[in-house]
């Protein structure tokens, strides 16, 4: 069983929701990312999504854009992100890692080279924001062969028939985008999310997670019962961009707030 599947089924047995934390690899530098990953796991993050910086992140709000820019000041490359995962894996064999980013850096490395390195180094899944179902077959053929999960997005605008097609090609978990907008936006509407996720759940056996616009305990508790997990990105990235000496403390406070909201009865 893969790490993603194992993590979700263990949490399910305990009747718990997954807390998925997103930070940008190399933001503000690779050592900080490595330390933050370790800390996040220790404090209760169940799955880590690592952003792979790209110069033109079309779907990101200001927080993650700035995170990408900070990572690119040091010219953080996909190659280095894969090395970061490798050294993380030497300590942690259990926490799933998903690489999230945009098509161009991945295709620049090439699907064959990327897939074999990713699988060797312990990457569990990829989520390529601007590579929808229609454009992904060539790339995902390679990754899938090597057991890397293809995490797919479902949006508020996605029709039921399209959800079916997407779920048929998804693995790992399905990521529901909670709002029409960019990452970190403010407009999450729990009622709308409830309706759409209800439909989505009826169409897939895979775990469903909700992301975009969840930044604290309050927003987390508004959607937690609808899904198997939540994704928090911009709020963590903001902390990584703040004063270095405060990163550890603020990450711990944020994770505590989110964990409580996810698991209080």
């Amino acid at each position: 069983m893969g790490r993603i599947k194992e993590t979700f089924s263990e949490l399910q047995k305990l009747n718990k929701k997954a807390l998925i934390g997103y930070i940008v690899a190399g933001d503000p530098d690779l050592n900080s990312t490595a330390r933050a990953m370790e800390l996040m796991v220790n404090q209760g993050v169940d799955v880590i999504e690592l952003g792979v910086a790209f110069s033109d992140p079309m779907a990101e709000g200001p927080s993650i854009q700035r995170g990408y820019e900070r990572a690119l000041i040091n010219e953080t490359s996909l190659e280095e992100v894969l090395e970061l995962v490798k050294s993380f894996r030497e300590q942690d064999k259990k926490t799933p890692i998903i690489l999230m980013g945009y098509t161009n850096p991945f295709q620049s490395m090439g699907s064959k080279v990327f897939s074999s390195k990713a699988s060797e180094n312990g990457v569990d899944g990829i989520l390529i924001v601007d590579m929808p179902l229609e454009e992904s077959s060539e790339f995902t053929k390679q990754t899938r062969k090597l057991g890397i999960d293809i995490i797919r997005l479902v949006a508020p605008t996605t029709s039921e028939s399209r959800i079916k097609k997407i779920c048929a090609e998804a693995s790992g978990y399905v990521y529901y985008i909670s709002l029409k907008g960019i990452t970190g936006a403010n407009s999450i509407n729990a009622e709308e999310v409830k309706e759409k996720v209800g439909i989505l759940r009826g169409l897939t056996e895979l775990p469903v997670v909700i992301g975009f616009g969840i930044k604290d305990g309050l927003t987390a508790s508004s959607v937690r019962d609808l899904a198997d997990g939540i994704v928090v990105g911009s709020a963590f990235v903001d902390i990584m961009g703040g004063p270095k000496e405060k990163i550890e403390k603020e990450l711990s406070i944020k994770i505590k707030d989110l964990s409580q909201a996810l698991n209080e009865i």
Binding site: S108, I177, I182
Partner: protein, 401 residues
């Protein structure tokens, strides 16, 4: 090259390996709907006559095909004809596309218009049609471009549109496009995004090409009338590539006519400071499309340089990438200096001041015309007029206006 090669894009928006729909899931259904609505309406007689009426009475079409007698004589070779898109309302070819797309937007029930702009010409053309149709309009423009095209920024504001200064990345056209996409994904229900070039995700490269193709169709008729034959060579500048695509498209199946696109050579291809992805770029994915890009070996998009804001873009429309690969069109470059010389020469010799974008095409004509004979003809697309660039030219000469 087969018939099939020319019947592009396919239903998924692919021009061979190029084009496509590389966007986040939220926008996929919106783009599918746009493609569907466009295919339905483009054959609708009422819609067609509405567009035609606007092109004739609002834009001022057809634009003349003007024989540049003095310049032809000076260069001493081929006969040079200028397709006068600079005479259109708002001073460039960009209006051909916005007139069509805003009617499409209205048909789809949208009430808010957004657009990106580089040189400001597409911003002006969009704000103009939005004003006329009484629609809310927001124009995204890079901070750098706002500085160098302040005249157009002011015009856009007078037209009642809001100009949003984009401060991310290189603060130019590519970043304006990222920001417009972010707006669209947020306001997708009521907002129509008028992309200004034959770039972006499907169906935009097709829609923008089709609305600009009126230029090429007019040249077909005008060539027959004025030359009694088809031109031997068509020349146009290429940034995203909309004026070139509009001119080339009806000629793609006319094998006797050579097609040449001219990219911005900036300070020279060897300096890396240019905007010539077809000449010096590699394949990649940006702004929803697969095409040739200026990028580093790690897949990050590079900053570009050109004297003209309208060509300062690291990508190019996917149909140009395809025409290059199948050998139907050739793509060359003109650098800043050559463009500036051509800008001055046409103004001085013909009394027509071209945009700095257009001047790149003219720089190539200067090079190639003397090597052709007097019976041969060149049509060059005067994609826009030069008033907007007068500050840039004056600055380069050390003159404060």
């Amino acid at each position: 090259m087969t018939k099939k090669d020319l019947n592009v894009p396919d239903s998924k928006g692919h021009f061979g390996p190029y084009g496509g729909v590389y966007v986040s899931e939220t926008l996929v259904p919106a783009l599918e709907e746009l493609a569907k609505q466009y295919e339905l309406i483009k054959e609708n007689e009422e819609f067609k006559s509405e567009v035609f009426e606007d092109l004739e009475k609002f834009v001022g079409r057809p634009s003349p095909l003007y024989f540049a007698k003095s310049w032809s004589k000076k260069l001493g070779g081929a006969k040079i004809y200028l397709k006068r898109e600079d005479l259109n309302h708002t001073g460039a070819h960009k209006i051909n596309n916005t007139v069509g797309q805003i009617l499409l937007a209205k048909h789809m029930g949208k009430t808010r218009i957004i657009a990106e702009t580089g040189a400001g010409q597409h911003g002006v053309a969009t704000a103009t049609v939005a004003a006329r149709h009484g629609m809310e309009c927001v124009i995204y423009m890079g901070e750098e471009d706002i500085k160098r095209q302040s005249l157009n920024v002011y015009i856009i504001k007078i037209l009642g549109a809001e100009v949003v200064s984009v401060k991310s990345g290189s603060k130019t056209l590519k970043d304006a496009m990222n920001e417009a996409m972010r707006d669209w994904v947020t306001n997708v229900d009521n907002t129509y995004y008028i992309i200004g070039s034959v770039a972006g995700p499907h169906p935009y490269p097709k829609i923008v090409r089709d609305f600009n193709a009126v230029v090429g169709y007019e040249v077909l008729t005008q060539s027959e009338e004025q030359m009694g034959k088809m031109p031997d060579l068509l020349v146009a500048c290429v940034g995203g590539g909309s004026n070139a695509m509009g001119l080339f498209y009806p000629f793609i199946e006319i094998a006797a006519t050579r097609l040449v696109g001219v990219e911005a050579g900036g300070l020279g291809l060897d300096t890396g400071k240019h905007a010539a992805p077809l000449n010096a770029g590699t394949e990649g994915v940006l702004h929803g499309m697969r095409t040739y890009l200026m990028q580093d070996e790690k897949g990050q998009i590079q900053e570009t340089h050109s004297i003209s804001a309208g060509l300062d873009y690291p990508g190019v429309g996917p149909e140009h990438a395809w025409l290059k690969d199948i050998g139907r069109a050739d793509y060359t470059t003109a650098n800043d200096k050559e463009a500036l010389e051509a800008f001055k020469e046409l103004t001085l010799v013909e009394g027509i001041m071209p945009a700095l974008e257009t001047a790149h095409a003219l720089a190539y004509v200067k090079k190639v015309a003397p090597s052709m004979n007097h019976e041969e003809t060149i049509v060059v697309n005067i994609s826009g007029r030069g008033d907007k660039d007068i500050n840039i030219v004056a600055n380069l000469e050390g003159i404060e206006l």
